[in-house]
Amino acid sequence: MKYSSACAFAILAAALGLLGCGKEQTSSSELVVKIGSVAPLTGPQAHLGKDNDNGARLAIDEVNATGVTIGGKKVKFELISEDDQADPKTATIVAQKLVDQKVNAVIGHLNSGATIPASKIYHDAGVVQISPSATAIPYTQQGFKNAFRVMTNDEQQGKVLGEFAVKQMAAKKIAIIDDRTAYGQGLADQFEKAAKAGGAEILAREYTTDRATDFLAILTTIKGRQPDLVFYGGMDAQAGPMVKQMRSLGLNAKFLGGDGTQSKEFIKIAGADAEGVTASTPGLPMEKMPGGSEFLKKFESKYGKIQIYAPYAYDAAMTLVEAMKKADSVEPAKYLPVLAQIQRNGVTGPIAFDAKGDVKGGAVTLYQVKGGNWVPLQTMGQEAPPAADAQPAADGKSPLSAGY
């Protein structure tokens, strides 16, 4: 037993060392503002989670490097990253943990299924929350004044996808699969509604989970119904193997997905079978985003390839900081009204929120894999800039012009 107790001492010593380092040293003139960043950093969606976290971190690092003064004090922003494992239960635990740590605001979570239960905790604690990527409709329908998102919700995306499937892809017989998460199910429901309205027939509605890797059983059932298009509401980690398994079964229907599918990782996983797959992401294509190319350069030099949502996480963080600067306060009670009225040019486009906390403007871009890359096909939906709603900006300046 000698060496096991030696081990225990080593672990204890290491833990104490970590605790020692964790203690902050702050001078009285400097104000430390804690901002939480939550995404799945472990588990099957860890690659997407790290992408979001890096997006937020890039923004916070930039702000800290330039130096910000709020309320006469120099402010240092501190990003606290938490891992919700894309799991609703873990999401509420880390949300409570962040609230207990007295964070000022939260950027997150990534998944709608995690964002919605966590938002109740932030709401009750008066913490401001901006999700970069939760698109399920119910998130902003709970009447929470502190909940925002910078990505268009699934009502619009599902509608665009449904119309695109019926009109442009000429699908008549459609099979739908979803992963039973708030996001996947919600998107699939909206898609189904729009596709039915467009006159398509829904042959099958099958289900999987956000941890599965084998889809042969449901795909075989779908093959028996002979659809000409398969729609998947879920993430890339499932969509990739799903497309491969479809082709291995000899099921040659077209494949269509939402923003969870439209990642670099999807193409990597599906390999040659990714070719011709279509998927949508709310917002504009990267190269058409006002600050897209510049952001791409900054991000890739530091963290490597972007998956999907990093620019949105960056915008969420920048919007928060902007609101605090404008309100000249880091108190949620003071900067929240400013945030609700904010008008700014983000990397992803103009950012302004409606009364529910949804980002204004409803552009959705469809992409197709061609030659191993996502190529934008077309941008659908109204590209309504904040100006269209003619709401006066909080600072009295004219609303932003409508470039995109």
Binding site: M1, A217, T220, P241, S248
Partner: protein
């Protein structure tokens, strides 16, 4: 009919994959009475190490199966060393501790391995280059590839090989003696520590084979893949009777078939009341039923005899 045949093929292949992993669980359990929860992670490490070699070689002129074999030849010793290390560091000091302590240690080892793999190989999915014969043959409308046939055969061959090892060799006799009564076996001149180490080393070599097969079949590996795979394989081992090699094979095949047929037909059988989202519920319902009527699993008499 072709759809039904396809579902059977899906189920048998999935079941063989479960069986490949379940054999490793059941072998360690049979000798030590320890549920080695880290086994799923050893499978993952096997896949990761093999893929590192395979991806490095995939540009060369070597034929695909040879590259995969080379990957396996590197992964196997790595996993064997890992299995030896796990037993030496995590389980041996606890051999006389209550069973619960060993079980918790096993879970701890699994978390350590998972996070180490995340640090080494990152959070990204690692793809398996298309080296293996996955072009489907169509038999009566149902698709099956050479790789799928190979996986089913491999699981069967490994099961037979293990049965031979345990029941027909000197080493196997020592293993069975250790399982029955370690102290007495020690008095009879069996080096118990060596036997248990060998058990872990063989189990880990199997894990490497399973890891390469699973990542080749699904075309990807991820640091998280061992967790759910391990859980399903453990379920299969329990279903068949944990500790029984034939039971692991039977349990794996059965679980694969139940999942596949359940997901395929539960919707139409219940008139759309239950959908394919109930596929896991269905599989675990069968497990509960089996355990209610046969608590030691389908082929699990041997454990009952021994204790």
């Amino acid at each position: 009919m072709d759809i039904f045949l396809q579902q059977i093929i899906n189920g048998v292949v999935l079941g063989s994959i479960y069986a490949l992993v379940a054999l490793g669980y059941t072998m360690v359990y049979g000798i030590l009475g320890l549920i080695n929860f880290a086994h799923g992670e050893v499978v993952m490490i096997g896949a990761m190490v093999a893929l590192a070699v395979i991806n490095a070689l995939s540009g060369t002129a070597l034929p695909g199966p040879v590259i995969v074999l080379l990957g396996l030849l590197v992964a196997m010793p790595t996993c064997m060393a890992l299995g030896y290390g796990i037993e030496r560091i995590a389980y041996r000091p606890l051999r006389h501790a209550p069973r619960l302590a060993a079980l918790i240690t096993a879970i701890g080892v699994s978390i350590v391995l998972q996070n180490s793999a995340m640090i080494i190989w990152g959070r990204q999915y690692i793809t398996f280059p298309p080296l293996l014969p996955i072009k489907p043959h169509f038999i009566a409308g149902a698709a099956i590839s050479d790789l799928q046939i190979f996986i089913v055969l491999l699981a069967a061959v490994i099961m037979v090989g293990l049965l031979f090892l345990v029941h027909r060799t000197r080493l196997g006799r020592a293993m069975r003696a250790t399982a029955q009564n370690a102290e007495v076996a020690g008095l009879m001149g069996v080096n118990i520590n060596t036997i248990i180490s060998i058990t872990f080393v063989v189990g880990s070599a199997l894990a490497a084979v399973a890891g390469v097969m699973v990542s080749g079949y699904y075309g990807l590996a991820h640091y998280y893949m061992g967790f759910s795979l391990g859980l399903k394989a453990f379920t299969a081992a329990v279903l068949g009777g944990i500790g029984n090699l034939g039971g692991a094979m039977l349990g794996g095949l059965l679980l694969g078939l139940i999942e596949s047929l359940g997901a395929g037909y539960i919707g139409s059988l219940t008139g759309g009341f239950l959908g394919s989202n109930y596929q896991d519920v269905f599989a675990f319902f069968v497990l509960i039923l089996v355990l209610v009527f046969r608590p030691s699993g389908l082929l699990g008499e041997r454990i009952a005899e021994r204790t």
